[in-house]
Subunit: 197 residues, 2 copies
């Protein structure tokens, strides 16, 4: 017989399969399909492995960044994907996500529930270099996908360059080089007509 | 201007978006859709975070396991998903995947190309506890998904319990408790008629 602890771990692992059915606003490159939260989280993890070195003037704990990006959207299983430019939906986002965190992380053995919960809170509050990097990647990844899908989702949702700049404004502070990349991608998106000024 | 190094990193990050279009044999739970390699890799990473503690009689480096499962299927962008029960396709799998690794990891700056390449080789060769755990999870995850989709993909592909047992036979050696779980899931799948004996 498997232990109660393993049972709870497996129950959580099965429950979070649902993240594969949470679709985001952006598209997969070269496809008509929207990206899922699981795919997005995987992509952030790859980015973290490669780009953590660009964090300016401090070392980051890559293991922590990976854990953070891997779990950061699990709450959306209950709370749904709140489109970052939807002000209305943003109003009760915190409440919905906190309830989701209670239920979902609560499936785990207590120590692991606590670990996941505090990783998620740290990410949300951006209180550490790891959280700031995770947050910057969470904004850079859709920017790159929008750029490589000719701004299709920006156009469908009437997003202008000011909004995109605002959304990525903190990146330069955590990683100068990534901030430069953000500027270049936005400028080129405007130039190519993917994004209106 | 962004550096040449960052340009190569971003080129790789964009290229691997294609893993979201590599579909596996198994289904997402509660869906008619096949799982993508990106989703599968994300799921393995969550499992690694939670289940690494079950590795028997040695400590594993969780960061290494995470990196390994996150990148283990990137070669399938060029080589395709080789169905584990397809003996014919298995014949030239190594050759196809080695070529894919050359091209894909070769997009990265040399040091990172080398890191990803050796992580992938270590995974393939199962020469460390980290690789053995990653490999066991890579077999356990589809087993769990098959079980929770009533064995639909097993039936569609005429897979019998012997093949599933064979495929998961190494798990007990790396983690006794996970080996027990494998046995229970297979037994219950037979009992429920998901899998033929
Ligand atoms: Ca594979």
């Amino acid at each position: 017989m498997t232990t109660e602890r393993l049972k709870r771990q497996i129950e959580f692992i099965i429950e979070v399969d649902k993240i594969k059915q949470i679709y985001r606003k952006n598209f997969v490159i070269g496809s008509e399909r929207h990206e899922t939260d699981a795919e997005h989280s995987w992509h952030l993890a790859i980015m973290a492995m490669l780009l953590a070195e660009h964090v300016t003037s401090q070392q980051v704990d890559v293991l922590k960044v990976l854990k953070m990006v891997l779990i950061h959207d699990i709450v959306e299983i209950d709370a749904g994907d709140t489109y970052c430019f939807d002000q209305q939906a943003g109003l009760d986002k915190d409440e919905r996500e906190t309830k989701a965190a209670d239920r979902l992380f609560g499936l785990l053995p207590d120590d692991q529930a606590q670990e996941f919960r505090s990783l998620w809170e740290e990410f949300e509050q951006r209180v550490s270099p790891e959280a700031c990097l995770a947050d910057a990647l969470d904004r850079l990844q859709p920017l790159l996908l929008h750029y490589h899908t000719q701004g299709k989702s920006w156009q469908l949702n009437n997003i202008t360059s000011n909004k995109v700049k605002e959304r990525n404004k903190r990146t330069a502070a955590i990683a100068t080089e990534l901030g430069r990349l953000v500027d270049e991608v936005i400028q080129d998106s405007i130039k190519k007509g993917y994004l209106t000024e």
